[in-house]
């Protein structure tokens, strides 16, 4: 799934990794990037719609990115181990339809998954665009995050 554009199969689905949201990590991320009361302080969070401390949505998204990057790095290492040329990395023009259906709480372990929605060639012979759906599920089966990302993926012929 994580290789050249030609190797990507629409409908393919993988578990890419997991991340534990410790209380310390939730508060540390929030202090730096999202210092709202329900991400920083248990007492203040009780008075919010969340009813208790929860992770910044940006923290959940960042953890999904980390899982994806690590998964792809392992896949690329296998390509290199076979003596093949590792594909150059493309960037992403953006994401869409991001939802946080459930708050992520201290102690939650979120497992991230990715599936291939679609793929298309671009006008440039060396890059295609692949539509991925990424989602994360907590240990209770609740969905923590879901979104679509459409990065450039290198073509073998390019």
């Amino acid at each position: 799934m994580m290789a050249y554009y030609e190797d990507v199969v629409v409908g393919d689905e993988r578990r890419v990794g997991e991340y534990e949201f410790t209380r310390e990590a939730i508060v540390a991320f929030a202090r730096r990037y999202d210092p709202q009361r329900f991400h920083l302080d248990e007492e203040a969070a009780k008075d919010s719609m969340f009813g208790g401390l929860c992770a910044s949505g940006w923290h959940v998204a960042a953890a999904s990115m980390r899982a994806l990057v690590d998964y792809r790095a392992a896949a690329f290492a296998e390509i290199a181990a076979r003596g093949e040329v590792v594909p150059p990395l493309g960037v992403s023009p953006g994401i869409a339809n991001l939802r946080w259906p459930n708050p992520t709480r201290p102690g939650d372990v979120v497992t991230f998954h990715v599936s291939v929605l679609d793929k298309r060639e671009t006008r440039r012979p060396d890059w295609g665009i692949v539509g991925f759906r990424i989602w994360g599920v907590n240990q209770h089966g609740g969905q923590a995050i879901s979104y679509e990302n459409r990065p450039f993926v290198a073509r073998r012929g390019g």
């Binding site: 730096r32 990037y33 999202d34 210092p35 709202q36 009361r37 329900f38 919010s48 719609m49 969340f50 910044s56 949505g57 940006w58 998204a61 960042a62 953890a63 990115m65 980390r66 990057v69 690590d70 790095a73 150059p88 990395l89 493309g90 960037v91 992403s92 023009p93 953006g94 994401i95 869409a96 339809n97 991001l98 939802r99 946080w100 890059w127 979104y147 450039f152 290198a154």
Partner: protein
């Protein structure tokens, strides 16, 4: 404290002033997005972009921090259900100086919780050359002033 009523539809507000350093770009990437073009200028050469740039998630997080500092921590915010669309239009590089622009697109009461409103927003991150580097459409939950929970 700012409430739902303080975000009139059509309002455009400019806020924030964030100098982006190479150390911050690399630190965020090290933790969350360790791709070569976010970690190391030399390694970035073998990529589509060819130079060190900030992770798009980092730019989003910098926007979030600017929002918090400018108004969100002083508002009756109740979080957000998601992001309909976020586009990374241009690279964010070390030394860039960013600010943000918020446009209120819509506002309605939540039928299930009358003391909460939903505001539809467009948020843009703009660099020192007046170029938009990130644009996103999102919604925010916020308490209404005149209705107690």
């Amino acid at each position: 404290m700012l409430h739902f009523e303080d975000y009139p539809v059509g309002e455009v507000a400019t806020f924030g002033d964030k100098l982006v350093t190479e150390d911050e770009i690399v630190a965020f990437a090290h933790d969350w997005d360790p791709q070569p073009f976010h970690l190391d200028a030399e390694a970035a050469r073998n990529s589509q972009i060819g130079e060190l740039i900030a992770s798009g998630w980092h730019t989003g997080a910098m926007l979030m921090r600017m929002m918090c500092d400018a108004y969100l921590t002083d508002s009756a915010s109740e979080g957000a259900p998601g992001i309909d669309e976020m586009r990374w239009l241009r690279p964010v590089r070390p030394g860039d100086r960013l600010h943000a622009r918020r446009t209120t697109l819509s506002a309605r009461a939540l039928s299930s919780r009358p003391h909460i409103g939903v505001i539809g927003l467009q948020l843009d991150v703009v660099n020192q050359h007046d170029e938009t580097v990130l644009t996103m459409k999102t919604a925010a939950f916020i308490r209404r002033r005149e209705i107690a929970p």
